[in-house]
Point group: C2
Chain length 266, copies 2
Amino acid sequence: MSEDRKEAKGTSLSRRQMLAGAGAIATGMAISRFGGVLTGDAFAKGGPTEKWPWPYVKLDPAKTAEICYNEWYRVFCGCAVINSVFSQLREKIGEPYKSFPVDAFVFLEGGQVGWGTICGSPAGANIVANLIIGPRIAGSPVGHHIASDIMQWYSEAALPVYHPKKPRIKDRIITTTSNSPLCHISVGKWMKASGHPLKSAQRKDRCARVAASTAYRLVELLNAWKEGDYESTSDFSCSKEHGITGQFNCMECHGDNVPEPPTGKS
Amino acid sequence: MSEDRKEAKGTSLSRRQMLAGAGAIATGMAISRFGGVLTGDAFAKGGPTEKWPWPYVKLDPAKTAEICYNEWYRVFCGCAVINSVFSQLREKIGEPYKSFPVDAFVFLEGGQVGWGTICGSPAGANIVANLIIGPRIAGSPVGHHIASDIMQWYSEAALPVYHPKKPRIKDRIITTTSNSPLCHISVGKWMKASGHPLKSAQRKDRCARVAASTAYRLVELLNAWKEGDYESTSDFSCSKEHGITGQFNCMECHGDNVPEPPTGKS
């Protein structure tokens, strides 16, 4: 854990405070994460699938991960994570999962069409959690919190965690900790540690396993929510702690020269 | 334009080469952006909305931007971009737009629940382009290319471009060029240049205008595609040029010490 990560933990909002803030949503107001307040009458009417939560049944994390691993070779990271969950819910529940156009999300690959921004695996997991549970403005902050849990878990885990039942690559796939949800950082650290290039079969299998690991973790969190015993594991809010959106490890990019953002109200 | 951006341009694939590669898709094969090849029989059957392209009628970019600007104050950047297009298509066309759960995408705010990764505006635009035109594995690379166009345009434009008809903030909103599609970088450079903090009304209005500017550009590209005269404006592929997913401005984070990723096939 980096030094500024440790500092961040010390000043973060407690889970109780977060839930207290979230409680206001149920009374017809939504608190903007960055300080604004939205009134109920500004909400749109919404389409037929904009009623949350969507029906959900508990899934087997290991089975989901195995589907995801194989789907990666068809649709890559983000879409594989979405489809590993939704293909099962299409079968077990039907709508609205059947009508959600999962395959459109192939573009999440490579941190969005190769630009190295958010890794498709957490991007896909965030979509799944917020589609099933709904956005925080619709009455529950849990989808929002699961997204934050996934980002922090992804950043701190030695990935890939999941070992497929029928791996396409028999070589040992080494693990690395990205300290970031960004594709460029995550895949870059792994390539440096492993010596395998982007086009290698080993790198591809590593990313398929990272997607599978993320799908596994996502289903654990969704199952806990379904059981009523979900607790957010994320304790980080960059905007509250540092006055800007961002990650926890400022110094990894900024070095000792971390800028101080403007503070106050205007 | 940064020095390595200029260098990148010199070695990029021509549009003709990209389209030649894309042509293979129509013959039943999809070329992985990062080197693999997928065979047609590996494709899933797909749900009822996984038939592309979705019906589209040309929209007015300025009207879309104005809707987006106002929607920002309800659902924030990514969701506002999606809904600025889809609310009009729900009315003009109906399905499958009515059944797409737009409001689930509030979580794109702040670079995904405040983590500062990809700005919600390009993230939302990428979703729209790929939902309407479809993923590259379904027969057309144009959604993929529009996403890349949007990322590059967003990075190079002095944002916000769009001036709303009824601005909530009367102050002049200064413009900044992010050289990145990341929220943290984009909003950080603007905050530094303007002196306004994250919680300020000025920062919020700036982000609402950035979303509106992105919606405007997105509709220009979709209209060109609909008219049959779309040409990709993006000329950048980090994986082809630098052997890793990423942006064009390596030195902005790495300084003079840009790492060389492993090369070759394994």
